[in-house]
Point group: C2
């Protein structure tokens, strides 16, 4: 069963995807296409689903090393007593490198082929992702406080400048700049970021309108809601990828659409941190480019896009009191073709079509929790787990085959993660 | 790591659980206890979590055969155009037998050791569960319409009478009676059910206050809200296990507590069908015996208690705007010791304590999505998947060992499920 996720949403019950180097060259019915190719290698997927690799539109990959360190806390306590001190004492280039390797193990295992990331030492995220064979839209975080790698936002932009130059020609890495949020950066910093992004032609990743407090804060400071404020200072453009967009009104949805901003919904993080419910059905109706993300593992606590799809579908049925809202097709679109649109990469990613990058996954449908299959979209969104993913191909390279990850030494990465765990626990004890 | 889930919520980093026949005889620190026993068999679980088997407090096991047959529909359309016709044309003793076997495969794989069920041909549910080595509180459904196995509620009670007599001495099966809901049974039928349950000393399983429509309907018919109505007609007692209890007010919560009714929360079903948000934090505060369930696979679509725990914890943080609500401990309690309380079996089930039934599971904690482990409760609730369960012991018998289910022929069950799928599809085409 091949799900193309193309404009016609074609599904081939006996499909074939032909790949040459890093590109898809044909997708269609096996019996029609098979005679046209003399393949060097065939990967069979009988009984499985073949679909575009999932796109995790918002995460902080290295934070997997803080997974479960402080749950069930009020946001302020969580940030100021756990996450900020843990970051201040532990985040180094090594931490980011190994944390991202752990995150890549988890993401590949769960069928994610592209992730959009915001963190510090982002060149180490790039190094780990490239080594794992994963595709990333990777943003160095710019923030108006001393960060683990930069004392000032200007130093952050200088870091980003080196980072962009180093990685911009790599086939898997799209370097980007990540101003943390409207409330943690001054207008001046945001305008510098915008100028930087235009000069270097890179995307901008930012948290936008995540919490009620942010809306109140920005309204008080600037007399405008977050998206309105960003419009006023010139940040809204097809360059922007806005994570969360929870507290936005109809006018702001229209601004996102008109300015072709990408938006990324993070249902599990928004629930766990009690941030609120993003107006996803309204954004879908308005045709905003809307992707789906897991957020970082300190606030979810997994990077599991199957969970994110199911939770997105369930959450908005409940919040709108309408069980027809965010159906299985739409949830899968958010994780594939619309995730690509949100990252402004729909010409390259998000569907199985000739000319696109060969990012695809093979997912088992035969587990006791998945049988019988009446509708493959329903089964993928409502009944499939990360652990059902069998094989992952990114940029034409097989990075996981029959549940064996080929690009990372799992035992080493897990051992390193446990070394960091011990250090992190010690660091939090010594005040 | 052994989580006893006893009154002190003891956790042993190097624990031991001693089992004799079907009972736990000791739980504690391995170094203290090991010398007291000369075991015939040792199952090592180093690095894993050992905890009480999960209790699925509400499901309709055979409906796994309808998994995903009709998603993303309005409730009325879903029921009248898909589920009711599919049931009328397909539900037979064979259907129930094989459907339950498939459900048992899924539940054992995901660490469920006890399930509470309401369906038709419930003696076939019992046969399949007993064969799979699973524990069940199994209720034959009584409804004021012709059902797949009984033309009238009286015929249903006669069926239940035979069912109870046949299964009441089986060590794994607790037969019960299941009036479908206040709105689908007359007061007279409900009183007959109550008398039957008292005469036979069996539990009563019922859907209660699931939807707004039900509350309106019952209020119109009887001038009282559903729980108030059940109190008035004498149905509230420690015999009752009430599924859903979504639309209940503080007075009704107090009634549930005072009458020692068991309640079962089904977060994913309530979200998917847009039923509403049960007042779980209030029920926990009031110390209502509150368990957790998946509901049937036609409305979830899995029987995965790990998903149910995570969703329960996330949902109530969001709905109360408080990230401290329903913490990981409480979510795990709902699936273990409080699930046992909800089924009125807390003297036998739900924790690892000497004298209790030997129902326990070994869960891996070493996957890339679970590492590192700072807090084992957090990790089990927020980061663990059904597929991380390694070994399942029910009533002292190993039913799954290192992810191999020993009590069911998986290949046969999956093949049978696909046979039923083909029949069901044909039956829905022929109008």
């Amino acid at each position: 069963m091949t799900l193309a996720m193309d404009a016609e949403r074609r599904v081939f019950s006996d499909g074939l995807v032909a790949i040459r180097d890093d590109r898809i060259v044909a997708v269609g019915d096996r019996r029609e296409l098979a005679a046209r190719f003399l393949p060097r290698r065939i990967i069979h997927a009988r009984g499985d689903a073949v679909l575009p690799g999932l796109i995790n539109g918002h995460t902080h990959a290295p934070m997997v090393l803080f997974r479960g360190i402080a749950d069930d806390l009020a946001l302020h306590e969580w940030l100021t007593q756990y996450i900020f001190p843990a970051e201040a004492k532990n985040v180094s280039r090594e931490f980011v490198l190994w944390g991202t390797r752990l995150a890549c193990l988890e993401m590949i295992r769960g069928g994610t082929t592209t992730f959009a990331d915001m963190y510090y030492f982002e060149s180490a995220v790039a190094e780990a992702a490239a080594g794992a064979g994963m595709r990333g839209v990777l943003a160095e975080t710019i923030i108006d406080f001393p960060s683990p790698d930069s004392r000032t936002p200007q130093a952050g932009l200088e870091y980003t400048d080196r980072f962009v130059k180093q990685w911009r020609t790599h086939p898997l890495i799209i370097p980007a700049v990540g101003p943390h949020a409207p409330y943690t950066n001054s207008t001046e910093t945001l305008k510098q970021v915008q100028a930087f992004a235009e000069a270097h032609n890179v995307p901008i990743l930012m948290h936008v309108a995540e919490t009620r407090t942010e809306v109140e804060d920005i309204s008080k400071r600037y007399g405008a809601r977050p998206v309105e404020y960003l419009e006023r200072i010139g940040l809204l453009s097809p360059r922007l990828i806005a994570a969360h967009t929870v507290h936005i009104n109809d006018g702001e949805i229209e601004l996102l659409r008109r300015r072709q901003v990408g938006a990324v919904h993070n249902p599990q993080s928004n629930m766990k941190l009690a941030s609120g419910v993003a107006p996803v059905p309204q954004m879908i109706r308005a045709d905003v480019a809307l992707g789906l993300g897991t957020d970082g593992a300190a606030s979810n606590n997994t990077l599991d896009m199957f969970e994110a799809m199911k939770t997105a579908a369930l959450l908005h049925k409940l919040s709108t009191n309408d069980p027809k809202v965010v159906n299985a097709h739409q949830a899968l679109e958010m994780a594939t073709i619309n995730g690509a649109r949100a990252l402004h990469r729909e010409n390259e990613l998000g569907s199985l079509e000739p000319g696109k990058r060969a990012d695809l996954i093979i997912v088992g449908l035969g587990g006791p929790h998945q049988v019988p299959v009446y509708n493959v979209y329903s089964q993928l969104v409502y009944a499939t787990e990360a652990s059902d993913v069998k094989t992952v191909i990114i940029n034409g390279r097989v990075v996981m085959r029959d549940q064996r990850i080929l690009t990372l030494a799992q035992v080493t990465v897990l051992a390193k993660a446990n070394e960091f765990r011990a250090k992190i626990i010690r660091s939090l004890k010594s005040k």
